[in-house]
């Protein structure tokens, strides 16, 4: 078992093997991911019963919660992959970190936009500068933008990898701040519905199951997107190597 895992690790960590094996993983993530999203969005946005206080407006949760959770998840993957790349000098880890940034930024923007639209019609305000949850999530957006700008500003890939990995790890202190902001301080933003103490704050399974479906669906789809991007990133980074040249010349690879 151990030797098998070790072999799998060494195979995946090597760029040509990763390039060859990743389509299988992408398929196994994308198919259940998009099926769950399909069920979750239709069941959540159309069939789930309304909330007695918010009415139809509560349906924003089916996009907002998975987007917000994945914005933090993408950041953690970016920071951890950057750290692994720094410590173990793993080329693939830096490629994964670089690939996570634009997806994470998109989810952060989606979480901020859906939250703002929801807030305008329920709270009565689009944005509150002093709210700790809103501010820490906005800082996350700037961290993603800063990370990508830093990468773009350094031409040498190895130096860009190191500098951006340090930035990603320093910015990781913001992740627990986002999560606990609604517990440590008073805020306009409510606490977590699903991770509430003493059970979920959503008791009707017709509301709850679609939410869980979109959360898992978004996660799988994110995994597929990340591998898809990392595959392209590996190809660009390894463009001068023999295996890429052979791949292009043999014309067998699905580029």
């Amino acid at each position: 078992m151990w030797t098998f895992l070790k072999k799998l690790y060494h195979q995946l960590a090597s760029p040509p093997h990763f390039y060859r094996l990743s389509p299988t993983f992408i398929l196994w993530l994308a198919v259940p991911g998009y099926l769950l999203i399909l069920y979750g969005t239709i069941a959540g946005l159309v069939y789930a019963p309304v909330d007695i206080v918010q009415g139809e407006r509560f349906r924003m949760i089916y996009v907002h919660v998975p987007a917000a959770y994945l914005s933090m998840m993408a950041y953690m993957i970016m920071a951890i992959a950057g750290g692994i790349g720094l410590i173990w000098r793993l080329k693939l880890a830096h490629a994964v970190a670089a690939s996570a940034a634009p997806i994470g930024m998109a989810f952060t923007f989606l979480a901020l936009a859906t939250g703002s639209i929801w807030g305008a019609s329920t709270w009565g305000t689009w944005w509150e500068w002093a709210d700790p949850r809103l501010m820490s999530e906005l800082v996350l957006l700037f961290l993603f933008i800063g990370y990508m700008a830093l990468r773009g500003a350094i031409d040498d890939t190895t130096r860009a990898d190191k500098a951006s990995a340090v930035l990603a790890m320093v910015g990781a202190v913001n992740i627990p701040i986002i999560h606990y902001s609604v517990e440590w301080w008073t805020s306009l933003h409510q606490g977590s519905t699903l991770l509430k103490e003493g059970g979920s704050g959503m008791q009707d399974t017709a509301q709850l199951y679609p939410l869980l479906a979109v959360i898992f669906g978004f996660t799988f789809a994110f995994g597929a997107m990340l591998l898809r991007r990392a595959r392209t990133e590996v190809l660009i980074r390894e463009r001068r190597t023999r295996w890429v040249k052979e791949l292009v010349l043999s014309n067998e690879g699905d580029l």
């Binding site: 206080v53 009565g124 306009l188 509301q207």
Partner: protein, 155 residues
């Protein structure tokens, strides 16, 4: 020690140092991170007297008064221990109703909080009509969100 162990140690120390530094900074500025002041603190006089601030709490059941022919509104905000009366002129968001949470911006004028903005604060509970019905059968007060009052307000 191998080079990679040295790097692991360096990264670990930097991350741990940053975590401690940010935890201390946040503790120090904890009061400034608060979005609103609790009603108990307002009654105890722990609020900025010279500038606007925010209060947060629940609207007491049966306390909402609307002046006929004007947009003047008054209600009692409670944290289930202490109360404060709030006055506001304008249109409220539709989710600002008795028994539910609000956050208001304004200042204290004597014993009354004069608000220039009132926002609805939704809690983390989502209740479908069906669940609301079973909740009413069990205990009417739970569905209405009217929690039990805490100890007597000391101020």
């Amino acid at each position: 020690m191998k080079a990679r162990h040295q790097r692991l140690l360096a990264v670990g120390l930097v991350v741990a140092g940053l975590a401690i530094a940010s935890a201390l900074t946040l503790r120090m500025f904890s009061e400034n991170m608060m979005f609103f002041v609790e009603i108990t603190d307002v009654r105890a006089g722990n609020y900025p007297a010279d500038r606007n601030f925010r209060i947060g709490g629940l609207i007491e059941e049966g306390s909402m008064h609307r002046e006929e022919g004007s947009l003047d509104i008054s209600f009692v905000v409670t944290d289930l221990t202490c109360d404060v009366e709030l006055v506001y002129t304008g249109v409220l968001p539709d989710m600002v109703v008795e028994g539910k949470g609000i956050v208001a911006h304004g200042r204290m004028d004597g014993d009354v909080f004069v608000a220039d903005e009132v926002l609805a604060k939704h809690d983390e509970n989502y209740v479908s009509p069906e669940i609301a019905e079973t909740m009413t059968q069990h205990a009417e007060s739970v569905a209405a969100g009217a929690a039990e009052r805490g100890p007597e307000c000391p101020h």
